[in-house]
Symmetry: C2
């Protein structure tokens, strides 16, 4: 690979001048500039980004930690972050945390040891205190879908409680009062807040939250199937089922169908996230739209603004979910 020295030699200019052309700092005459650019072209010169990083103490890379690489939720988030950063010439280093405290910490340390200019985290197992301490270090930390008061300027969050509220409210509005709820793991802030919203809607409607109609799933399809099996095996009476995400809703739908339920007449089901396939289930899944792709883009913009001094970016740290009424939920038939 060609080095800056070879470029300066071929162009017949000094090393400093080549550097000036590259960094657009000081003025260089158009003639000289062209000579240098031609030489670069001819040699196929690409600056060694490793050496640049060492000298400038800036790696042009942003670390991302997500729970899982697969799954439509994280995919949309990463796509949002990547497209925005890529357009600005930055790149992403992606790691996974698997929602386990030690793996999340390990992933974070890994990203920091790679000297990322900033890290964007979707962490679930690590404590608030750890995050606060972490952000006192030299690497700027940004949080997705998690709100920590002391770090509020660096949080991009969704009003999950509102989402949970909207989901249950839509079901209540359809006349249901016997409503089962499949929650996500309660150590995950998203899952906890969605449940809070569910309770809020119930309270508001004067319906008592029934712990028997509450089950904690794992956010996967199988968790949804298991949960519904549990409710049915317990011979509980309910006409609607609210799920903390679409995967569990689809698992529950499958189980319901296999056990003779006619959807949505026998059971109304609502999901959360509005992942792409929610619209291709049968019946199409009523769910809460989670603008996770936009949130990813916004996180990237926030980094570009804070860390890379990209001034003219308008930042919105809060996103609101909306109801997507489809066919899997319907008015209660008396």
């Amino acid at each position: 690979m060609a080095t800056i020295y070879q470029v300066s030699e071929l162009a017949g200019v000094s090393l400093a001048t080549v550097s000036r052309v590259m960094n657009k700092n000081t003025r260089v005459s158009d003639k000289t500039k062209q000579k240098v650019l031609d030489a670069m072209e001819q040699l196929g010169y690409k600056p060694n980004s490793i050496a640049q990083s060492l000298a400038s103490n800036c790696t042009n890379s942003v670390g991302i930690l997500v729970s899982e690489l697969h799954g439509p939720f994280f995919a949309q988030m990463m796509a949002g972050i990547e497209s925005e950063l890529r357009a600005a010439g930055k790149h992403v280093i992606i790691t996974t945390g698997h929602s386990e405290e030690d793996k999340e910490q390990e992933g974070i340390e890994f990203l920091i040891s790679r000297r990322c200019d900033a890290i964007i985290l979707h962490v679930e197992a690590v404590s608030d205190d750890y995050l606060i301490k972490l952000s006192e270090g030299s690497t700027p930390v940004y949080l997705m879908s998690r709100y920590v008061e002391q770090l509020k300027d660096n949080c991009i969050s969704l009003d999950n409680q509102l989402g949970g509220y909207l989901a249950t409210k839509s079901i209540l509005n359809q006349g249901h009062t016997q409503i089962a709820y499949i929650a996500g793991p309660q150590f995950k802030a998203d899952a906890f807040n969605r449940l809070e919203g569910h309770k809020q809607a119930l309270t508001e409607a004067g319906v008592k939250f029934d712990p028997a109609l509450y089950y904690i799933g794992d956010f996967n399809e199988t968790g949804g199937s298991k949960a519904l099996k549990h409710f049915i095996d317990e011979k509980l009476s309910f006409t609607a089922l609210v799920c903390a995400n679409d995967e569990m809703a689809s698992g529950a739908m499958k189980y319901a169908r296999e056990h003779g339920y006619n959807l949505p007449n026998d059971l109304s089901i609502v999901g959360f996230d509005n992942v792409i396939f929610a619209n291709y289930l049968y019946p199409t899944l009523t769910t809460i739209d989670n603008p996770v792709g936009n949130m990813g883009e916004m996180a990237a913009k926030l980094v570009l603004k804070d860390v890379y001094q990209n001034k003219n970016l308008v930042i919105n740290r809060f996103f609101e979910p909306t109801l997507m009424q489809r066919d899997s939920s319907a008015p209660l038939i008396k």
Copy 2:
């Protein structure tokens, strides 16, 4: 951040000794080793990976280029690659190519300019010649789901033709002979070979390939809907529909249901890839299992073996798809 100098000072040993401890090359007495490790611990020393890369000409990073970040197919692939590399202390830099020639080239150049130790590509738009030329450069190139004869040692591929064959064969075995086919974009090798397999199965069964029952979709859900609409609008007669991937199959299923079809009795549908949600559609989708996660792991192993001298890895460059018979396809009712 602490440097190696500070460690050597605190430990009271020379710089060379610290380096020896880190790189486990030469023997160092246990006593000295412990002193050094203690000093590192105390200072919270993390080697600067940038400087390491510069000096050792090895970045411990592998570049990955996929078409899209979202979508279950790529997610599973990336998850496979990442988990394997991560376990070996390497990390991944991920970029997208959007199946467009210039974007793919740009992405590749980007990864090379970051001095990745190797790059794993799932490219679709770029030519074979370009790839051959590329692999003559100093960065080792590996190809996923694309077979180029001259680079065969660096290709991890699926027998897509066999997959296409199996899909159509299963439908033929159920007595269908009027079979519509929704293909993927034919410049994509995967899509092309799946179609070849389809034709092969037809020929073998003495059924003529009917161009009228052939439509090129875009590999997305909407493409599947559009294709089926086309067949129906043309008033063509067919009892089965084979799709080149699961997304299009799910789009077609949705359209069929919305237009009064009773699945699978009125129409048998088969997909390809066996993405997770295929099993949660209604009816559950008969499809061809594509072990893309395993293929990702294998690509990572290949890199570990070739580039990082990890000897004891057994490499399998060819994968075979298998039929997943589910409920969306059924014997023809006469």
